[in-house]
Symmetry: C2
Subunit: 255 residues, 2 copies
DNA sequence: CGCAGTTTTGATTCATCTCAATTTGTGTGG
DNA sequence: CCACACAAATTGAGATGAATCAAAACTGCG
C-alpha cells in the first residue's frame, strides 16, 4: 500500500516529514531492510537509523531527485520506483551511468566533491528516503555494523561500475543487451518479482545510452532475440522464454 | 630517497615490518600525505594512523599485489610506483579498469564481497603501505576527519569510473586517447612531475584494453597525434607539444 | 481522433577490428 | 659487450559491426 500525501497537492520540493505522512518508522517496518542500508543491524540499531531518516521525498515520473552541481547533503534510499543516473558532457553528449531500483542507494557520487556529479531522474513515480549524510557518518561512528555495511554498499557500486566498463569495453551489441536483461532479471528476482517477465521503465534510447549503443542497434538486438525465440518483446514488456542462450552469449562470447 | 631493504633478498610475500626497514613513521613523514589517506588530519591523528600502517610491501614489475578471489583484508596506499587493475571474464576476455599511481588507494573493490574482484599488478617496481581494513574502520569511528576523507576517496573512485563509462560509451578512438593523455598529464602534475613530458609504464595493449580499443588502434591514434604535431611519441616516451587541440578534441567532440 | 514520441526496419556509410608483415626495442646469456 | 630471441609497436589492406540517414508503424495521451 502506498502512503498518500495528506495535502491535496505536492508541497515545496516534495519533502514530506515522516510524522505527517506515516505513523510507521522509516526502516523498522520497511520490507526492503534486508536489501537496503539497515541490513545486518539489530532492532535497536535500526531504531536509531529510523530517527535519522527524517523525511521522504516523492517524485513523479521525469522529475529530478538531484542534478549535477547540486550541493551534496544526503544520500537516498529508493523505497519505491525506478531511477536512472546520467552524466552530461559540456558538448551535450550524455551517458546513462545506471538504473536503480527499490532498496538501492543513490547519491554517493556527491561525497567526493561535496556536490553531485550526475543527474538522478525518476523513470516512474517514486519515493525515496532522505538520509542526511553528516548524520549517517555520525551514526556510522557509533554503529560498527552500519559503518561496515555502508562501506560495502559503496564498494558494490565500484564493482558494479567495473562490470559496466567490462561490458562497454569488450562486448558486442547483443552481448551487452543480454547482460543487461540478465542483470535486470536477477535484480527483479531479488525483489520478489518474476525473473521471466518484466516491464522496462526506460526507452530504447536510454538503454542504448547505458550500453554505449544507438537506439536502433538496441531495437535490432531485441528483434533478433525475439526471432531466435530467446525472448518475447512487446514494446516495454519483456518475457524471457529461454534464458540459456542469453547466458551463453555472455559466457562463451563470440570468440 | 628510497628505503632499502636491510636483508639481501626479499622476504616471504615481500611484507616488510616497518620498524626494520625504516626509522620513520609511515605517514607523518610521507610527502604524499596531502594526496593520500592522511589528508586533512591533524599531526596527532596522523600519528595514530602511523601506528596502524604496520607494514609495507614491495613489488617487482609484473608482480601481483592481489588477485581476483583473494580474501579481502587490507587496502593499499601506493607509496612509489605504478599499478594497473584488471577484471577477467570466464571466457578469457579481460579489461584494464584503471591505472594507479603514488598516493592513490587500491583494493576498495574487495570490501563488498570480502574478496577482491580484480587483479592489481605492479607496472614498475613499487612499494605500497598496507592498511588493514578492520583497523581502518576502527580508527575511522574515532577520527571523524579520517572517516570523511575515506568516504571521499571511495566516492572519487565512483566518479572516476563514471568518467571511464562516459569515455567508453560515447567517445571515438582519438577522443579516448586524448582524454587518457590529459588525465595522466594532470595526475603527473599533481605529483610534481612535468605535465608535458612523461613515460608510459603500460603497453599499447594495456592502454587499448583500458580504452576499449585494440592495440593497433591506439598505435594509429598516437601516430596521428604525432603527425598533427600535438605530441611527440618515442615508444613509451610522450611529450605533449600542443595541449589545446587535445582538449578541443574532448570539449567540442566530433558532433 | 489526431498528434508526438517511441519503436521498428531498411539501405548505406564509416570507424574500428582483424589479419599480416615489418620494424624497433629489451633483456639474457655466452 | 655483443648477439640473439622475444616482446612491443608500427603500418597496411581488407572485413565487419554498429552508426547514420530515412521512412514507416505503432502507442498512448490529451
Amino acid at each position: 500500500m502506498q502512503i498518500k500525501s495528506t495535502s491535496g497537492h505536492d508541497v515545496n520540493l516534495n519533502v514530506i516529514p515522516l510524522n505527517i505522512t506515516s505513523l510507521k518508522a522509516a526502516c523498522s517496518q520497511c520490507n526492503l531492510r534486508e536489501l537496503c542500508l539497515p541490513f545486518g543491524l539489530t532492532e535497536k540499531e535500526i531504531a536509531r537509523l529510523d530517527r535519522m531518516v527524517a523525511s521522504r521525498r516523492r517524485l513523479k515520473r521525469g522529475q529530478h531527485l538531484y542534478r549535477a552541481g547540486d550541493p551534496f547533503e544526503a544520500i537516498y534510499a529508493i523505497k519505491t520506483g525506478f531511477f536512472k543516473t546520467d552524466v552530461l558532457l559540456e558538448d551535450g553528449r550524455d551517458q546513462v551511468t545506471g538504473f536503480q531500483m527499490a532498496g538501492e542507494i543513490l547519491g554517493m557520487d556527491g561525497i567526493s566533491a561535496e556536490a553531485h556529479t550526475c543527474n538522478a531522474v525518476a523513470l516512474e513515480d517514486s519515493e525515496v528516503c532522505v538520509i542526511p549524510f553528516l548524520q549517517l557518518e555520525g551514526l556510522s561512528r557509533e554503529i560498527e555494523a552500519l559503518q561496515h555495511h555502508f562501506h560495502k554498499v559503496m564498494s558494490r557500486e565500484i564493482v558494479r561500475d567495473h562490470g559496466v566498463m567490462m561490458l562497454l569495453g569488450t562486448m558486442r551489441a547483443e552481448e551487452r543487451l543480454a547482460a543487461f536483461l540478465l542483470n535486470l532479471s536477477q535484480r527483479f528476482t531479488t525483489r520478489g518479482y518474476s525473473p521471466q517477465e518484466f516491464h522496462l521503465r526506460m526507452t530504447r534510447e536510454e538503454i542504448g545510452s547505458y550500453l554505449g549503443l544507438k537506439l536502433e542497434t538496441v531495437s535490432r538486438a531485441f528483434s533478433r532475440f525475439q526471432e531466435e525465440g530467446f525472448i518475447s518483446v512487446q514494446q516495454k514488456h519483456i518475457r524471457i522464454l529461454d534464458i540459456a542462450p542469453l547466458k551463453q552469449l555472455l559466457a562463451h562470447s563470440s570468440a
